[in-house]
């Protein structure tokens, strides 16, 4: 009797347990078919890209706001809200290169149903250039004198000076068109309390904001007014932030809770192990981002007081090009890629690494490490280890360099291994790492910013927006050297001052044909890298994760990763 009862109870319990397990497994957090779940672990804090230049905010806004033209993954411009790209050939760009005429597509409307007009285009320019707004994308509108709107679909940009490369304003995810009706009340000085507008901009994109929680999550619904029929394919997008790259990768590759995850900068072996499960695929794309070393051409010795690290005192060691070349020869860039980036990195010897037609081959010798040649160069430059302590010296000065960078796992690994290589050629290295919020901050009172460069060697990464590096290459002009006079602002970190280089940047500003521009870009790049003022290390790619079942993704290094999200869909099973 007792046994019978026990059996009955046991079987009842096990049936319950099994059904509960099934119920649990059934609803195991797999997203519904119509909903696209994206993890962007650096959670967006605003959807107005003009108030934040941060990639996380710009990318999120790109689901809603669109520019006149985008840049495709191959680096080519594609007309987006515009009918076509204005060029000299089709008459869109005037012969004097001082005006550019964009024509909007016919029948465009905002997600609220009202028509998109050239007035919105002109307003966007006025908004970003308004005094007191602090527009993060202001540089995109440099040199624009006026925007005329002869009719509802035509916007004519008038430049103050001839502009051979006019495609910066309204091109790419950083400068989309805002709706004038919505943002007009947010022009300064009233512009401080426009949170609701910044959190839910009305756009033309495939999705519109349903709910925005800053630093947490965005829920977007399909835009019923979207211009392409049957798009977007997904009815809802949830863009979830928070956690870290590891939890984001886990959600796509292991638990299957998300369809897509951005910015998965993880240790290469860890990422490939997680992706090995077969539920997801790693997506990479290589754009202009490059990790490099800057050598200080000025003396950072504190004895110089305020003139420390200024051109008044050339660097006693690094002014010698042979020493700089030796430092470059001692590096094994392939090993660096393997340690730090894996599939998300490539060896590079250039500072302008992409688009392809800009990439030079003049410095390709840097790809192979040559310790012997480096030693010979240092000996030739007069550096010998006279006291047999393993560090070379000359005239009583030891060849010891201070090497600083921001605090970051990969960068500290790089520092340690570079120190090891330089020790092999008799160069001593003192390592230092500084919190990124101080190092990249522009606080003139801080002694530790990368612009003050109170060290001999520095490592960080930089890139340019869009596909034209003209503005990027102007970074190393004489007049961009950070100094006490300009409050230590300026982008010429190595303090290179070369009239020949400056003249080349002036020529680039006026060069009109693509061939001429490419030649000048390569020449400028070569000046920086073959003279070893900058030592390029790794061309870094974007790394994202995509679920197997998601199709239509074309990761784009030039524009928003979500540039073609309207076409993303689930693969039929």
């Amino acid at each position: 009797m007792i046994i019978k009862r026990a059996v009955a109870v046991l079987s009842a319990v096990s049936i319950l347990a099994i059904s509960a397990t099934e119920a649990l497994a059934e609803a195991s957090g797999k997203p519904p078919d119509d909903r696209l779940t994206i993890v962007s672990w650096q959670a967006p804090s605003t959807l107005n890209p003009y108030l934040s230049a941060g990639a996380k905010d710009v990318e999120a806004a790109s689901l809603v706001l669109e520019p006149l033209a985008r840049i495709a993954p191959d680096g080519q411009l594609v007309a987006w809200l515009a009918e076509e790209i204005p060029t000299r050939a089709n008459g869109g760009q005037s012969a004097d290169l001082k005006s550019l005429t964009w024509r909007l597509r016919d029948g465009l409307s905002w997600s609220d149903g009202s028509a998109v007009t050239a007035q919105d285009v002109a307003f966007t320019w006025r908004y970003c250039t308004a005094e007191g707004l602090g527009c993060a994308q202001a540089a995109k509108f440099d040199g624009i004198e006026d925007i005329e709107t002869p009719d509802a679909r035509t916007a004519v940009i008038r430049f103050a000076a001839p502009r051979p490369n006019p495609y910066s304003a309204f091109v790419g995810a950083q400068s989309p068109i805002l709706q004038r009706a919505q943002f007009a009340p947010c022009l300064p000085p009233q512009g401080t309390d426009c949170a609701t507008v910044n959190f839910a901009p009305v756009g033309t994109g495939p999705f519109m904001v349903a709910e925005f929680r800053p630093n947490d999550v965005i829920r977007l619904a399909a835009n019923p007014q979207y211009r392409t029929p049957a798009q977007p394919v997904f009815g809802e997008v949830v863009l979830k932030g928070g956690g870290d790259a590891e939890s984001a990768a886990r959600a796509v590759f292991q638990t299957g809770e998300a369809d897509y995850a951005t910015n998965l900068q993880l240790a290469p072996d860890m990422l490939s192990r997680m992706a090995g499960g077969g539920t997801g695929v790693i997506e990479t794309a290589f754009g202009p981002l490059v990790e490099y070393i800057s050598l200080n051409l000025t003396d950072p010795d504190p004895v110089h007081g305020p003139a420390r690290a200024t051109p008044a005192h050339p660097h006693p060691v690094l002014s010698d090009a042979r020493v700089r070349k030796a430092l470059s020869l001692a590096l094994d860039r392939a090993a660096l890629v393997e340690i730090g980036y894996g599939a998300a990195g490539r060896v590079t010897c250039n500072i302008v690494v992409a688009p392809e037609h800009f990439a030079s081959t003049a410095n390709d010798g840097c790809k192979t490490q040559d310790i012997e040649a480096a030693r010979a160069l240092l000996a030739e430059a007069g550096w010998h280890d006279s006291d047999a302590d393993g560090i070379r010296d000359k005239d009583g000065r030891a060849l010891t360099l201070s090497f600083q960078t921001s605090t970051n796992r990969v960068r500290q690994d790089f520092q340690a291994i570079i120190k090891h290589w330089w020790a092999q050629i008799g160069v001593g290295t003192e390592l230092r790492n500084i919190n990124a919020s101080v190092f990249f901050g522009s606080d003139p009172a801080s002694p530790d910013t990368f612009q003050k460069f109170h060290a001999d060697v520095q490592m960080f990464a930089s890139m340019f927006d869009g596909t034209d590096p003209e503005a990027f290459l102007r970074n190393w002009r004489c007049d961009r050297i950070p100094s006490p006079e300009n409050g230590w602002q300026g982008s010429n970190i190595p303090r290179l001052c070369d009239a020949g280089y400056d003249a080349l940047t002036d020529r680039l500003e006026h060069a009109a044909t693509p061939q001429e521009r490419a030649g000048l870009v390569r020449a400028l790049n070569d000046r920086l890298v073959t003279d070893h003022v900058l030592l390029p290390l790794v061309a870094r790619g974007r790394v994202s994760g995509r679920a197997q079942g998601l199709a239509g993704v074309e990761i784009n290094p030039w524009d928003s990763e979500f540039w073609n999200i309207a076409q993303w869909h689930r693969r039929a099973e």
Binding site: A136, A195, S247, Q254, T255
Partner: protein
Amino acid sequence: MTPGSGLLGGAGRASVTLLIFAVAIFALMELAPGDPMAQVPLSVPDEVKQEMRRALGLGEPAYVRFGLWLWQLCVIEPLTGLDALLGTQLAGGQSRILSWQARAPVMQIVASHLPQTLWVVGLAYVVGVAIALPLGICQAWRQHSVFDRAGTAVTMLAYSVPPFLSGVVLIAVFSVWLGWLPSIYDTTHRVEDWSDLWVQARQMILPVAVLSIQTTALIARYTRAAVLENLRMDHVRTARSKGLSEASVLARHVLRQSMIPVVTVIALGLPQVFGGAVVTEQIFLVNGLGHLLISSIEANDLPVVRTVTFLMAVLIVLANLAADVTCRLLDPRIGAHD
């Protein structure tokens, strides 16, 4: 002096404490290195960054910004709160404390992060306390028994396992391996019917479990020690020798006394609930106040950091007052000589 005036004095002291807090918080963050512009990509030119700094009000000297912040914190924000409640126009559209990252009122952002913090961290605290009290009492009552020894071992282990380990282990087992529970907390989920409640419960199981493990362990240890101490008291021996049942000895002569230190620990731990749980929130993407604080620190979003820190200070002071009041109720001798 009446107990009431003692509390009033306590409130006065609390206001002074909070003012000192406000000065200290502001000064510390002014002195700390770091720059909100460090987040802006290097492709943005320096001139533009200078314009952005000016737009954030960073051009003003520190004392002006401190005065403005204090004014906004103590006057504008409460008035705005009143306006929202009563539909009045007291604040008169004066500018509120704005986050530098989101350029939106800090209080609005705090409000959007509060629900998940209260749900997850608050529930974990309640669960933790609910398990810890009986556990600690039973352990003390049957000291040196197998139950006590096992309980001690388990609580010590639970207390020493950090959430970044227990969280990841639970995810590996229940989300990755078994696939039963979600590892991502969906803050947009709304509970409208029973099946929604089930979804909500499922997504809360793992983070609540991770968080309550630590609370349980800590409070169970305190409870056990407090009860043990009182069990040895003379009045308990007297009660037992009078022939009172064990239950009434425990309930009437031991627990009331023992609860004084335990209530203090529970009350003082309460502000931590509002501070969120940085690590656990990060693991499960709960994105409550802990996440808000840490992400704002990373982005050098000082208005958010100092406002959230100040709110924490307010809650700690309030929790202290609450602990005082509760202890006075439990033992009228406390505060009788104020």
